[in-house]
Every structure is written in C-alpha cells, then in structure tokens.
Amino acid sequence: MDSPILEPSLYTVKAVLILDNDGDRLYAKYYDDTYPTVKEQKAFEKNIFNKTHRTDSEIALLEGLTVVYKSNIDLFFYVIGSSHENELMLMAVLNCLFDSLSQMLRKNVERRALLENMEGLFLAVDEIVDGGVILESDPQQVVHRVALRGDDVPLTEQTVTQVRHLLPSIHSLVATTIILWS
C-alpha cells in the first residue's frame, strides 16, 4: 500500500491559518519546513483559499496535505496536517481553536472583533498547539489559561474599569495640586 505505517509521533499539526474573505493572511503559524519561505507560504494560502472559499465542506486534500477548515462570516480557519494524519485529530484542533475564540469574542467571531483581540488569538493558539504538538483540545481550558482580563468584558465596562484604575492617580494628582495651591 502506498502509505507507510505512521511513525508514532506527537507532531500532528503542520500549520494553523486564519484568512479573511479576500484570502489575505490574518494569522499563520507553520510548525515545520513544508513551506520554508514566506513566498511559498503565501502561494499555498492562495491555493487553499481558492479551493475552499466557495464550498461549505470542511475537509480537503491539497498539495498532498490534509486541510480541515471552517468559515464564519468573514473568517476562514484552517488546520493542516500530513495526508496520513488522523483527520479527526486535526478536526479536534480546529474545533478547539474556533470554540475558544468564540468564547473569548463572545460569539462574535468575525474579522473586526478578531483584529481588536489579536493578542487573545496569539495566546490562544499558543495554548492549543506548541511546535506542532497538540497542547490542549478543550476550549474551556484554553480560555481559562489565556485568562484575558480586559477583553473578556465588553468595551463599555472595560472603559469604566480602566478609568477606575486610573482614579487613584488622578486623586493623588488632584491632591498634590491642592497642596501646591495651598
């Protein structure tokens, strides 16, 4: 048979990608040397986007790699692994990434919200995959570990807390001014 027995390894994920609805890269992390240069990576992303953005199916085989994907409003999420990899493992990573972001962005998984929370995305992916090894597959755990304080609360509340955070210093400022005045 054409595929050899899989070398048992924890290195499962070759890349995690998020593209917008023009196919432009919002996030890309490659974990091995399948596409060593930025140019090759961009070409691969273009190919992937062309083949997947019109269809609503969640899995494809491209350039000899298994690609599982999911789209939501104006975002496309991809997890890429070897064509011999267990597709369901890759799917577990994709679902974990999506569900974690969905919680962190309060179900508002779209380009704009994501761009405003890029640090959240960076930290989440860092908790899900480490150097190609699946680190965590439970979205609850991921969200808990990312533990973004500010971004978990809606914008209005956040501003209030921020202001409150600043209050003591304003107070002291006022205080010093008063002292100076007197």
Binding site: S3, P8, S9, L10, M118, S137
Partner: protein, 873 residues
C-alpha cells in the same frame, strides 16, 4: 491614543484592519516607550501585539532590529500585568531565532516557572525551553524534573512537550527524565497522559523491549485520553510491522479492541491501522470495514471523508471486502464535499460491476472541474485500473480522459492521464488510433517537455504501423517548428521512424529532415543529419539498427569504455560490442502508481546493479584480465533460510569465463570464520581456475568469496553445467559477548546445495522496440526451425512464462501477454549471446491437448542457433 486610532478606522469603513498599514520602523520606534516609567501596560501590550503581527505577516526583522526590540521588551518584566507578561513570553519565542543574547531572560523565566502564578508557569517553561541550549539545560534540569510531575496539568504538559522538542538537541539530558515522564503518564489529566506517552516513546523507540513493556503496561491499565489511545495504536502497529508479528498477537487484539472504543477518533485510528497492515486477510479486515461503513453515514464531513478515503485504500487490494459498503458509498456520490464524492465514486469503480461504470463516469464528469489535482489523479488511477479490468469500456474511458486532458491541471495530473492513455493503447489495439489522436491534440498545446517528448516517442513507435501514418506527420512537424530543443530533437527522431517504415512517406520525410538540418540547436541538427544519411541508404538493416532499435548498451558502461579507449589510444576502431549491455530495459517496466501524496523526488539515473558488480569485480586483481562483464544473474540461495551459515551465489558471465560470487553470512555469534572458500566440482568440462577466499567472516557481517571458472573452448554447445559446492573454512571459536576469538582454530566444511548454470546465464536480455525490423536485420542466413511438444504444460500463459525464464531473453512487442480465450500465440524474444551475438527467437504456440511450439531462431552466429535449439529440446 489607541482608542482614537480605532475610531478613525471605524469611520473609514467597517472592513478596515487596524494593523493594515503598519510600518516596521514606526512600530520599532514606538517600542521605545517600553523604557518609560511607570510602564503603561495597555500601550505596551498593543505594541507587542503589533510586533508579533508583523512577524506573523512574514515581515523580515534584521538581527539588530530584533535584538533592540528584544532588549527593550525585557524591561516589561517589571510590570505585573498578566496579559502583558504572557505577550512577553510569546515575543521571546518569536524572536528567539532572530535576536542575539536571548539567554539574558533565563533568570526571569526561571523565576516565573517556579513562581506562585500558575498562569505564568506553563508558558514560561515553553518560552524558556525555546531559548535554552544543551549547556544551559543542565542548569534548569532540576526545575524541569519538578515541572514534569507538577500537579497543575498545564505546567506538566508544557514541561513534557518542551522536553520532547529538546530531545532532538540534547537527547542525553532529556533521557534522564524518564522516571518523571513515567510518573506523569499515570496522571488523571488526559493531555498530560498523552504528552507523557509521546515523550516516553521518543526516548525509548530504539529499544524494542522497552517499547513492548510500555505497550503491555498501558494496554492493560487502559488510558483516559483518546489522543493517547491513537498514539498507542500507532506504536502497536509499528511494533507489529517491525516484529512481523502475526495477527494472533496480543498487539493485534489490542488494536482490534480499540474498534469498540467510544471515541470516534480512536475507532478510526484503529480501523486505519488495520487497513494499512500488510498481509491482512479479508476476515481480519471485516470488523474495520464495518466501522468505516458506519462512519460513511456520519453527519460530520471529516469523518465521512476519513472513512471513504480509507475504504478506497482497502478497495485497491481487497475490492471484495468493500462490496458490502456499496450502498453507503452510493449515497455519498452526491455529497456536497466533492472530495468525498470523488473518493466514493472511485471506490465504487473498483468494487462495482461493469454495468455501473457508465453511470458513475457520467456522475463524476459533472463535477470533475471542481476537485483538486490530487483527487483528479485518484480518478485517473481508478480509470486506469478499470480499463485493465473491463477492456471493453475503453471507449467511454478514452472520451473521459481526453476531456480531462483538455482541462487545466498541474504536471502530475497530466502525466497521470498520459500514462493512463498510453497503457490503454498498449492493452487494447482497438483503441490505438483514438488514443494517438487525443495525444496528438494534447501535444499541440503542452507546456511539459517531459510529456511532449514521451508522446513523440510513442508516436514514432506506434504511428508508422497504423493504417494512415501520414496524418501524424503534421502534428510531429509542428513540434519541430514551435517547441524547445528537447522536444524538437524528439520530433526529429519520431519523423525518422516514419521515413524508415513507410516507403511512400520517405521522400516527404527527407524534405522535412532537410529543413531540420538548419535548426538553431546542434542536437537537433545532429540528429537530422544522422537520420538523413541513414534514410538515404534505403537499407532495411541499417534502418533497423540505427533508427528503430537504437542502442542497447548501458550508458555508464559506454561512458567508462569510451574513457578507457581515449586513455589508451590504438589503431583499432572502438568496438561497440565490448560495452556491457543495459540490464533492465526501462520502457517495458510497468509504471508504478504514484501515491496520492505526490512525491517530488527527481528520478536519478542510478548506476545499475551490473555496473556496481563490474566495479567490484574489477577491483580484484585476478579478474582484471577477463574483459567486460557480460551478465550478472539474480542471487541464488544455496542454503536453507535459518541455517548456521547463509550463502547465496551470483553468477557473473564474461566472454570466456564465469565468476561465481558467494555472499556468505555467519549467523553464529560464537564463531569467527577465516579463509572461506567455496570449492566447486563441475559435471562438465568446465575448469576451475582460481579461488579468491574471504579472509574473515565475523558474526552477522556478510563477506564474499569468489571462484573463477573457464568455459570450455572446444565444445561451445556445453552451456549448461551443474556444480556441487562445499564451503571450506577455518573456524575460530570466540566469546559471544566480546567477539574475542581463540588463538587456535580448526578446519571445517559445510555442504551447500548444487549450483546450476543454464543457457539463460549466457544470454543478456535486450529489448528490440521494433522486433520485425530486427528480425529482418539479422537475416535468414543462420535461421533454423524446430517443433516441440510441451506435454506437461496446460495453458499458453504457462508456456510463455516457462520459455521466457528458461531462455532468459527479453519478450518484445508485449508478446509476453497472452490475450484471453485464444488458442494460439506468437512470442518474440530478443537477446544477445555471450560473445556479442544477437539472438532472436520467434515461438509460435498452439494449444491443443498440450502446447505445441514451433521455434524459429535467428542469430549472427550459427553455433548460437544450435545451442538455443539444443537447449530447448
């Protein structure tokens, strides 16, 4: 300020990207505020995000820039903002390979990894391990060991995964953490369990015993994590494969039991493992196939895809095992995921009946343009297999293939189609003309030089023998006008073949050749001039030798001979017959099915087996005067498989001598053999001239000894001979552990099986692409004919197989394939007899009660004809 920035963006449109117009230099400039006191966490966080975003977009950071940003960032460790600290870890990891002196943060990270904040500890470990090298690793070893067995799962997992990354770099250090990993493996946390298992396997994978023990332990105790189960299944199937364990082994039972796991991921992994095992019987496959069948109706596309892809693989080897799933597969051919539909259809094409082929082909052609190249190749392979199974369907297939050929597609895809069409043409003479027409159309607009030359070669071979050869000339000559040098040269060669075969086309071909002689490329000009001169002679023999059948020598051999000739200038012209012949005629080898994952390895022209032997033998002084090596046989086993000494023999034939190479292996670890020779007693007038002993034969290291034999001069017809062989040697007992031999030894011998030399050892296979022309070229001067009755043979296939293996000659014109339901057949064989005499054999076979065979032999030497006929009789 940031808020303002966002607001402006909001006004400019909803689709805007706050990071869109980031300038690297501006961001690095902004990074200066890292040095301000007090630290403003929110602004710093935003700047770090920008830096990581830029790196992520593939922006290049120079060492200076990266180092500067890195050092500025280190100041942020003074802030206690959680998110900011986490972003610092990320920045460290991203810059680890770009910046210099990253190790200065070691102490900060060590502090965080052992600190109280659990949120920091895991990520700090991962960042720390990214910047640590082998020497530094010793310093943090203590902390790593503690972290591996930490009760917080994220800490333990991070430590285990980081250890795994570092195995590549510092195996020896990480190896010492095995006990900690072992302890982590019994953790309650599913991910910790998975990572510990992965690390343990990596540390032990070279020690089969340890792996077996580990497997036993975990398969008995059971695991919680589905990921860990998948890993365990892979380890088990690898071990099964390595030990060639039977399917009654407990490992196989374990994998089979995983088919009943409640997690789909594990069930699929187990099914896939069973399907990929070599030598699985249909009965062993059945449970795996039935779970895959269930998955076919899953609502999850990934699961359906995985199932049908695996079933497709099963269908390649065991189509009957998959027939049970036909109904489920039928439901998938309209799946909205085209990959699933394609796989379902190609699987059905393998398992279904002939009647369903038309319907399936219609279905697939409705969406073939939507699927990726990889799957198109899968479709083409399915068609290719189908054509061999149902030859009558070739017209449907040919139509479909020609449509596919017109579509856009990459090289691998086009090559698959072209190979498929070529194989159909070769299998079905009826489809030849349509197939050639499609290929002609394809080369009109073909960007792949390799394919164009391949097709031109085929046109040259097949075109002249079609009823209307003239119609191909236009297509070929168009190439001469329009294409690159390689294609033009191939086109010239093809044209020459038309001129040589068809007298009425010759004048026009000569005119075209004249035109080619003015080509800008010298290879094209050379070929045209050469063919022009050969064609003008109008001699059949010349045409056959130089246009149809070309050179049959091995290219590296030719190169070496020519080099030798230039070193020793002599009056004699270079003798082509002194060059060793090419061993394996490449064009007749069945093309291998390219796997779906296309390998990008270029095909290198490796020196053939015979060229390697030639080199080896030439290095032995006794054999230097023997001349070029004529033929090397396949190895013959002279011992049973599991004996004390394993000996196999390769027969090397030279023009007047034979060298027997004995490859001996000593399988006793308490013996050292010395001065090993194989003594040979010939049954005929063969004369043993010389023995070359193998000086030392230690345990399990193969060594070779040689015997040189002179072929009888006086009786050239004595081609077959039996040798009785005895291995003689000096035994020195030795310590099995150290391999230290005793001082004294004693002589001993070991009787080997008899070795046969047959007529096949004197004949080298040569492929004549155009047998008819070669037949005419040799001429009927030395023709002899005889009729034989092969009483013991029942079928034509068997007879053909026997003759080919007995004479050791190359079947030409695909005459080794006997069409079904025929009771007569003609077999064409070509070869070269020792001493560079061409031999051609035509065997007409007729099936009655037994098989009757009329053999006609032609050769440039009469003795050779006699030898062949005598040996057949």
């Amino acid at each position: 300020m940031i808020k303002k920035f966002d607001k402006k963006d909001e006004e400019s449109g909803s689709g805007s990207n706050p990071f869109q117009h980031l300038e690297k230099s501006a961001v690095l400039q902004e990074a200066r505020i890292f040095n301000e006191t007090p630290i403003n966490p929110r602004r710093c966080l935003h700047i770090l995000t920008k830096i990581i975003y830029l790196l992520n977009q593939g922006e290049h950071f120079g060492t200076m820039e990266a180092t500067e940003a890195f050092f500025a960032m280190t100041r942020l460790f003074q802030s206690n903002d959680q998110t900011l600290r986490r972003m610092c870890y990320l920045t460290i990891k991203e810059l680890a390979n770009l910046s210099e002196d990253v190790i200065i943060v070691t102490s900060s990270l060590t502090k965080d990894m052992t600190g109280k904040e659990d949120v920091y500890r895991g990520p700090a470990i991962r960042a720390l391990c990214r910047i640590t090298d082998t020497t530094m690793l010793q310093a943090i070893e203590r902390y790593m060991k503690q972290a591996i067995v930490d009760k917080v799962p994220s800490v333990s997992s991070s430590a285990l995964v980081s250890s795994l990354h570092m195995v590549k770099m510092s195996y020896d250090v990480v190896k010492r953490w095995v006990n900690e990993a072992q302890e982590a493996a019994s953790s309650d946390n599913v991910m910790v369990q998975y990572h510990a298992l992965g690390l343990l396997y990596h540390l032990r994978k070279n020690d089969r015993l340890a792996v077996t023990k580990m497997l036993n332990k975990f398969t008995k105790s059971g695991l919680k994590s589905p990921f860990a189960y998948c890993m365990l299944i892979r380890i088990a199937s690898k071990l099964l494969d390595e030990t060639e364990g039977g399917h009654d082994s407990p490992l196989f039972d374990f994998i089979e039991s995983c088919l009943r796991n409640k997690n789909e991921m594990v069930v699929y992994e187990a099914a896939s493992a069973i399907v990929h095992m070599p030598n699985c019987t249909a009965r062993e496959l059945a449970p795996a196939v039935s779970v895959l069948q269930l998955f076919c109706s899953s609502p999850k596309a990934a699961l359906r895809y995985a199932a049908v892809r695996t079933l497709n693989k099963v269908a390649m080897k065991h189509p009957s095992a998959v027939t049970a799933c036909n109904l489920d597969l039928e439901n998938l051919i309209t799946d909205s995921n085209r990959s699933i539909a394609t796989l379902a259809i190609t699987t059905l094409l393998k398992t279904g009946s002939e009647s369903s082929v038309d319907r399936l082909m219609k279905q697939i052609s409705s969406f073939v343009s939507e699927i990726s190249d990889e799957f198109k190749v899968v479709v083409v392979q399915a068609i290719s297999a189908l054509c061999q199974k149902y030859p009558r369907k070739h017209s449907v297939m040919m139509n479909f293939l020609s449509n596919m050929l017109r579509d856009d597609g990459g090289f691998d895809y086009k090559r698959a189609i072209v190979d498929c069409i070529i194989s159909i043409i070769e299998e079905n003479p009826d489809s030849k003309e349509t197939g050639l027409a499609h290929l002609c159309e394809f080369i009109e607009d073909c960007e792949h030089t390799v394919l164009a030359t391949k097709i031109l070669h085929l046109l040259g071979k097949e075109g002249p023998r079609t009823p209307q050869p003239s119609k191909y000339i236009r297509f070929i000559f168009n190439r001469v006008v329009l294409e690159s040098e390689a294609v033009r040269a191939a086109a010239v060669s093809a044209l020459a073949k038309f001129g040589a075969q068809n007298d009425d086309l010759l004048p026009s071909v000569l005119v075209l050749m004249q035109r080619c002689m003015m080509d800008s490329d010298d290879e094209v000009r050379d070929r045209a001039t050469f063919y022009m001169n050969v064609l003008q002679q109008k001699q059949k023999a010349l045409n056959a030798a130089y246009i149809f059948n070309g050179l049959s020598v091995s290219i590296p051999g030719l190169e070496k001979s020519l080099h030798q000739y230039t070193l020793e200038p002599s009056e004699k012209p270079f003798d082509m017959k002194s060059v060793p012949l090419a061993t394996a005629p490449l064009s007749e080898q069945k093309m291998e099915m390219a796997p779906v994952a296309t390998s990008k390895l270029p095909e290198k022209l490796a020196p053939s087996r015979q060229d390697i032997y030639q080199e080896q033998l030439a290095s032995i002084p006794e054999f230097q005067s023997l001349g070029p090596l004529f033929k090397s046989s396949d190895p013959v086993q002279l011992t049973e498989a599991e004996t004390e000494y394993v000996v196999r023999c390769i027969k090397h034939t030279f023009s007047k001598h034979m060298v027997f190479q004995f490859d001996c292996t000593n399988t006793l670890n308490d013996q050292l053999l010395q001065k090993v020779v194989v003594q040979m007693e010939p049954s005929e007038s063969y004369e043993v001239l010389h023995y070359v002993p193998a000086a030392n034969l230690p345990y399990s290291q193969p060594g070779s000894c040689y015997t040189l034999v002179r072929l009888p001069d006086d009786d050239p017809t004595a081609v077959s001979c039996t040798f009785s062989c005895t291995m003689k040697y000096l035994v020195r007992d030795c310590d099995p552990n150290t391999g230290e031999p005793d001082d004294d030894g004693y002589d001993d011998e070991y009787v080997l099986e008899d070795l046969e030399v047959t007529v096949a050892d004197h004949i080298q296979k040569v492929l004549k692409p155009n047998f008819g022309a070669a037949w005419e070229e040799v001429g009927e001067d030395n023709e002899k004919e005889e009729t034989f009755a092969l009483a013991s043979v029942r079928t034509l296939e068997e007879a053909v197989g026997n003759i080919i293996s007995f004479l050791g000659m190359q079947p030409c014109e695909r005459s080794d394939k006997v069409p079904e339901n025929k009771n007569s057949h003609v077999l064409f064989l070509a070869g070269v007899f020792r001493g560079a005499h061409d031999v051609l054999v035509r065997a007409r076979l007729a099936l009655a009660d037994g098989v009757t065979m009329q053999v006609t032999v032609r050769s440039s030497d009469e003795t050779v004809v006699d030898i062949i006929l005598a040996s057949v009789g």
